[in-house]
Structures are given as structure tokens and as C-alpha cells.
Symmetry: C2
Subunit: 459 residues, 2 copies
């Protein structure tokens, strides 16, 4: 079989290598970082991630879902930490079996690379950074970061899974693809990872099976559980500004007074808060959109290289894994007619990745503001009741997270129409017990019939 | 006085040089192209342009408006050429004195460079391409295209007027400005310039004082008069597609049959059509948006480098000239506090350049489709009547084009509200004589009162 080149052995690149290896291709993967199974490195990204049904389906098709889920911690809902120290649990779904999973990014990546290398036809080259791509010949220039040697690699085609800063995409942007549409946009907020260690007996210091959230309007903190009993917290806060910003938290006193004021219940759980805060980098939060994603039959962008999104729907990895699954189905259908595959792939995926990008940005505002709004809380209660009562009711969150059969675009359209209706209903009442569930569900079914007219079958 | 560096001696760079020279700065302008006053070169851009009131005001403030307008040809309205060979004149305004001016890009650029060089403190370096910019030091690398020598230039600050492909902006995009927001988006349509020569006696072969337009739904052609009796035509057409596209017009026969079918009245006026079509390049039509426009006190982007737009409102140059005028006012107010000036400039201008970018894209669809729509034609008639009757009535087009005192954003908001109302009125009648003008004007005054609440004084 012919050779395929993949740039990047991150989550998307490694999973794609497995899919291609199973089809018998000779796969060469070039990764700029050292082998994280041998060298302890920071992946430069979040420590843990929320794996949900779209990602699980893609793992299932290479036989890895159960193996990966064994290492994961189920999170059944959001645990909302209010300013006065109360906790309120909001389940993600009213149905059993619909939950998300906290998983270690590094552990998952290592497992995928291990699996890929089980195939004799996959070779991963580490410390090998792609520094250029020639759209006309399909040749990539790879620099070995240890020896500084450069070589040219070329396969039958190339998949660029080299992340948000994709070098292949930059080659497309600067000259080799005419009329390349591109945008990068950044939130005013950045993020910083912090740490809640396990209790002395190794147990979790907060509810284990939840995504914890401290929503404070203009900023927020979340925490996801790790298998060792710890939590990884992420503080989302404005980069700049005189007040409530990374810029303004200049010293230990300012930091501690900020935390005591806004996250008082978390402070006793964070013994290394000051050290972590000033040691750990502040990350940026941005979205990248572009089109076309391909150059002729020479290369295809996928995952973050094609559509990096902000993390507020927990879908970045799940979306990249879905890319791999759908690409695999297209290869099943069209063989190695790469140009055709790339064109169809872009036509199918672009409207859906645009939709999840929009929803992820919107969810930042929902997580930050709306979970402290009583109308929104009543709406979540009503949704939970609807999910418990009607098997055919799915919230927007559920459609995105648990309905791997629904394209993101459909989830967005149906979800927005539903949300508008339910918020209207909940703004007019004081208590969800006043609501006639059957009447509401009839209205939702009518809405869904309307949007089914624009339904597109997911691939 | 201290030294200021300008990258680019195009329309914006040359006008800015004059403004700065008048303030006594020592100005060095670096231009990649040869001196167009000595070497005949294609500017690589449209041959003529529509100069209107925003541009005229900016020229007025350096004393050049009358000199430039002497060379211009007034265009009092659109001459619509229908498919059956009829012509219909739609005036731009119902008021005298409100018209646009066809002007030679090269002639205007040369006049601006001549004027700039009259000041002893301006020096323009030709064949000197900026190939890099260091955001931290403010140093630009300039390559002499004749000798291949490179030198480093640095002034008190730098203005990047280096156009849509700005090298300074690319430096900001790739690393030196954290969280630089950027987008480039392209229309599916491209453009090609064609030629209608003067009649044998030197006269114009069509109405001289009009912008001619052949609107054909999915494509269109326009023509602007030149002082020598010729017209420069621009064909806007899809790049790709089996039918009605640049791609599909492969040979002389296909080209001529396309033109005879769609632009029959123009064909006899275009003796060099075939030669021009296959010789002249096909241009792309895109918009560029970015933010921030500045790096500390080191550099400011302006004109197309900051906000390239599509040409369908005839505002690209006018908007760039307005940039220069407003920047000059800020220097008047804040001296050489560049960081402050750049910040205020961006805050003032960005919402307005975003607004004209939106309107320019929307006007493509209006010019292409709407001018053949009877409701739209009735609306234009109604607008002309309103303009003739009420001194306080301004169409959206008039507000953009003739109201240099109104920011683009206000023109857009007021214009959209008005357009919606007038289209509604005109969709319900057959003839504008049925309309009670006083009633309509009362409604518009109410609308304007509403939007005046959000009015921001233009700088």
C-alpha cells in the first residue's frame, strides 16, 4: 500500500493514524515534541478533558472505547458553587447513561500512540517539526529538532493534524491557495490551570462525579476530577483591566484577596494556589476558521488545524475525533480518490464545525452568567423533568454531547429554537411545578417538525 | 522635528505624508514600486475610482480638493443598461451638488506624491520594499529591489499604508502581537478591466456623466468615464463554474457569445474586447479585518492595510483618506503621544470601517440584483422625490457618499432602518405617485430620532 504522511501525533493525528493503519496504509507521523511516553513534557494544553459520545463513537470504531473509559471519571452534571458557599447539582441529563467523562489528555494521547504503533505499518517520528509545506508538490519539510537536519517527506497525500498553529495551514494562507478564507479571533479572557490535591487519605476533596463550576459573571473557575483524587481547576479571567483580570492580580496579597472574595470555599482546598498561579502560564482562548480545508489531492487540514474552538462546550477533542471517523467513512466509500474525499469532507464538516464553534463561544457566556440566573436555573430544572418524562426530549447540551447521530448544525438549530421557547416559559413562572409538561412537549415536537425540514443526515 | 516612517506611497501613504509634512515632521516614505511618474507601470489596481465627499474633505484640508476635482468627471447617477438595450438613469441624489467623481488612480497618486515632495521634509524612496517589521524595536527592514541591498529604518513611529497585503500586518499576525484578531474573506466573484475607447472625434460613446451599470443578477459590468473620452469597464463574474464564470469563458467564441447575450449594447463599443479579456489579469475581491491596528507606540496600520474592502460602495479610497484626516485631528489634539493616538484612532475608526466593509459587501448584491427589481426601482424613485422635497432626507447611499460629517456606522444604522421602511412601502404600491410624501417623511423622522439616541459624533 502507498504511504500517507500525518503532521502531528496529538489526539487527532494519533487516532487518524490508527484508522489509516487498519486500512493498510503505510503511515508516517511527524511530531514536533519528544515522545511524551519517555520524556515528561507539558502538552502545553489542558491536563484533562471531557470525553463524550461523539469522541466515544470514534474510539469505538477502532475498538478503544472501553479501554479508554476504564481510565475515565464519569461526571453526571455541573456542581454549581455559589458565592455564599452553597453547592447545587445540575444534572447534564434527566436520563441514565448520559454523562461526560473526565480523562487525562496525556494518558489518552499515550494510549492512542501505543495502539497506533501496534500496527507494523505506522511509524511516529518525534522531535520532527514540520516547518514548511509546498502545495504544488505536496512535499513537507521536516526539521529534526535534535540534529537540526532537514528532510523532505511526501506521501500519496498528507493530513495536517498539527493543531491551532498549523504550519500547513499557514502555507495555504500565505500564497499557495488562492482566495484562502481565514479568521482567527480571541476572547478577552485567558485561562490558568490550578490544582486541588487529593485528601490525605487519597480521597476526593469535593464530589468526585461532577464538573465543578464557580460562575461569577465576568469570570469563572471550573474543576474536573483526576483518577488520583485530585482536581484540575481552570480559572477563566480577563487578560487585561484594572480589576478582576490576570493583569491586576500582581502579587500574593491581591491574588489571595481575590480568591477569598470570589472562591472562598475553594481556597482551603488549594494549598499551592499562590505557587501554581504565578508559576503556570496564562493561556489564550481563540477560534480559528478557514476554507477550503484542502489543497487539491495534496493535503487536508483536520482537527484544530482546520477549526480550533474555545473549550466551553467540551467538544474540541470530540469534534476532532468525529473528523477522523467521518473521514474514515469517506475513504470506505471513495477509496483513495483524495480530491473527491477532501471536497466532500469539507462540505459535510465545515457547517458543523462552524456550528460547534459558535455554540462553544456562546456557552462561555452561559456558563459564566446564566447558571447564576434564576430563570436559567428553572429552565435547566424543566429540561431535566422533560428528559425524565419524554424519551424524545433532548436539550441543546444533550444533542451536542450525547447525540453522536446528530450533526452539530442540527443540534444548534433545534437547540436554539427550544431554548428560546423554554426561556420564555420559565420567565413567566416562579416554580417549574406550575408547568404542564405535556403542553410544553407538544410545542417542542412542533418546533422539531419544522427544523426537521432542514435536517441533513450526519455522515 | 523627529522622523516618521511611512510604508507605501499609494493613495493613503502619499496623503498622510502631506499631512505629516505640514506638521513639520521629517517623513521618509518607502515604496516597493518604481516611481510611477517616471516609469509606466500598472498600479495593479483599478484604473479609475469614484472620489466622493469624505475623500474630498480630506483633500480639502491639505488644499488639494479643487486641483484634483479639475481632473475629475462628475457622475450624477447610475445609468442602468437593461438586457433589452434600454437605458434608465437613476440619479444618486435628488439634490444638486450631490454627485461622485470619476478620477484616474494614477493621476491622483502622482499629484499627491508631487505635492508631498514640495515639502523639503518629505523623501520618497522607490523600489524599496518593506520585507519585515520588528514589533519590539519598531525597526522595518527595507530591501532595495534594484541593488538587493537591505537596510534597517526606524523613526519615532511608523505608519503602515502598505495595502491589503501589508507586511507590517503580517508581522503582527505571526507572533509579535498577542491575540491579534484577523480575518480575510473572499467573494466567489473576481473582476476584470475592459475598455471602451473614445469615438473617432474624441467624444464619449455613452453618456459621459454617469456610472454605467449592466446588472445581470449573478454577474454585472460597470463603466466609469475617463478624461480622454474613454470608459474603463469592470466585469464582475464568478471565478469558477461551468456557466457564466471566468473559468467557463475559455475562448473567443465563448466570450463573444456571452457578451452578445448579456451586454449586446456594449459589444459594438468594445473593439478590443477579446484582446483585453485574455490579456488583462482577473483580480480577486476580498475584505480584510483585524484588531488591534497598532503595536504600542511603534506602528499603526491604516487604509487597506487595516481594513481592505470590496469596491461596491466606491469607498475604499474615500475611507482611507478619512483615516488620514482623522489621524491628523488626533495629532492636533494629542501631539506625539502615539500610543494614546493609536488607541483612540482604533476605537473611533474600527466600528466605522467595519460598517463600510459590511455595506460594501451588501451593495454588491444590491447593484447586481436589486437595480433590476421593480420594487427597488420604485424605492429609488421615491428616494429621489424625498431628496428633492425634504432637505433633511438622505438615502443610505447619500449618507455614505455625501455626508462626510456622519460616521459610516451611523449611516449604516439609519440607512438600514430607512431602507426597510421604504421597501415595505414600495412593495405595496404600483407607482410612486400613490405615495403621500409627507406621511413617509414623518415616519423617517421618527426613525431618525430613535437612532439619534445611539449617535456618536464623528471625529
Amino acid at each position: 500500500m502507498s504511504k500517507i504522511v500525518i503532521i502531528g501525533s496529538g489526539l487527532a493525528g494519533s487516532l487518524l493514524a490508527i484508522y489509516l493503519a487498519k486500512r493498510g496504509f503505510n503511515v508516517e507521523v511527524y511530531e514536533a515534541r519528544p515522545d511524551m511516553r519517555k520524556v515528561k513534557i507539558s502538552a502545553g494544553r489542558s491536563i484533562n478533558l471531557a470525553l463524550s459520545d461523539r469522541g466515544i463513537l470514534a474510539l469505538n470504531q477502532v475498538g478503544l472505547d472501553n479501554y479508554i473509559l476504564k481510565e475515565a471519571i464519569p461526571m453526571y452534571g455541573r456542581m454549581v458553587h455559589t458565592l455564599d458557599g452553597q453547592n447545587k447539582f445540575l444534572p447534564y441529563s434527566g436520563r441514565k447513561g448520559e454523562y461526560i467523562n473526565s480523562i487525562s489528555r496525556a494518558g489518552l494521547n499515550c494510549a492512542l500512540m501505543d495502539e497506533a504503533e501496534k500496527y507494523g505499518n505506522v511509524k511516529i517520528f518525534f522531535n520532527s517539526r514540520c516547518i514548511g509545506f509546498d502545495c504544488h508538490t505536496g512535499e513537507a519539510i521536516i526539521e529534526n529538532l535534535e540534529s537540526a537536519e532537514r528532510k523532505i517527506v511526501k506521501g500519496e497525500t498528507l493530513f495536517a493534524a498539527d493543531g491551532a498553529g498549523s504550519v500547513v495551514r499557514n502555507a495555504m494562507l500565505h500564497g499557495c491557495v488562492p482566495r484562502f478564507n481565514f479568521s482567527q479571533s480571541w476572547l478577552e479572557h485567558g485561562y490558568k490551570e490550578l490544582h486541588i490535591p487529593p485528601a490525605e487519605d487519597g480521597s476526593f476533596r469535593m464530589e468526585k462525579n461532577a464538573l465543578h463550576i464557580w460562575a461569577r459573571h465576568s469570570f469563572m473557575m471550573i474543576a474536573l476530577p483526576n483518577p488520583d483524587g485530585s482536581f484540575t481547576c481552570t480559572l477563566f479571567l480577563a487578560h487585561e483591566g484594572e480589576k478582576d483580570s490576570f493583569e491586576s492580580l500582581k502579587d500574593e496579597n491581591l491574588l489571595l484577596s481575590f480568591f477569598h472574595k470570589h472562591f472562598a470555599d475553594a481556597v482551603p482546598l488549594m494549598p499551592t494556589l499562590v505557587e501554581d498561579f504565578f508559576k503556570n502560564p496564562t493561556g489564550n482562548l481563540g477560534s480559528i476558521r478557514c476554507s477550503p480545508w484542502y489543497i487539491d489531492d495534496k493535503a487536508l487540514l483536520l482537527g484544530d488545524a482546520a477549526h480550533a474552538i474555545v473549550p466551553f462546550y467540551g467538544q474540541g477533542m470530540n469534534c476532532a475525533f468525529e473528523d477522523c471517523r467521518i473521514l474514515n467513512e469517506l475513504i470506505e466509500e471513495h477509496g483513495t480518490d483524495w480530491k473527491k474525499i477532501f471536497k466532500i469532507f469539507t462540505e459535510i464538516r465545515k457547517p458543523n464545525t462552524d456550528a460547534i464553534a459558535d455554540m462553544a463561544e456562546e456557552n462561555f457566556y452561559e456558563m459564566r452568567d446564566a447558571v447564576t440566573d434564576p430563570v436559567f436555573q428553572r429552565k435547566r430544572e424543566l429540561e431535566t423533568k422533560l428528559e425524565q418524562t419524554f424519551p424524545d426530549y433532548f436539550s441543546k447540551y444533550s444533542m451536542v454531547t450525547f447525540r453522536e447521530d446528530l450533526p452539530y448544525k442540527v443540534a444548534k438549530e433545534k437547540g436554539n429554537a427550544q431554548d428560546k421557547l423554554l426561556m420564555e416559559i420559565c420567565s413567566k413562572i416562579e416554580n417549574t411545578s406550575e408547568i404542564n409538561l405535556n403542553e410544553v412537549m407538544e410545542k417542542i415536537r412542533k418546533l422539531n417538525l419544522q427544523s426537521d425540514n432542514t435536517y441533513l443526515e450526519n455522515r
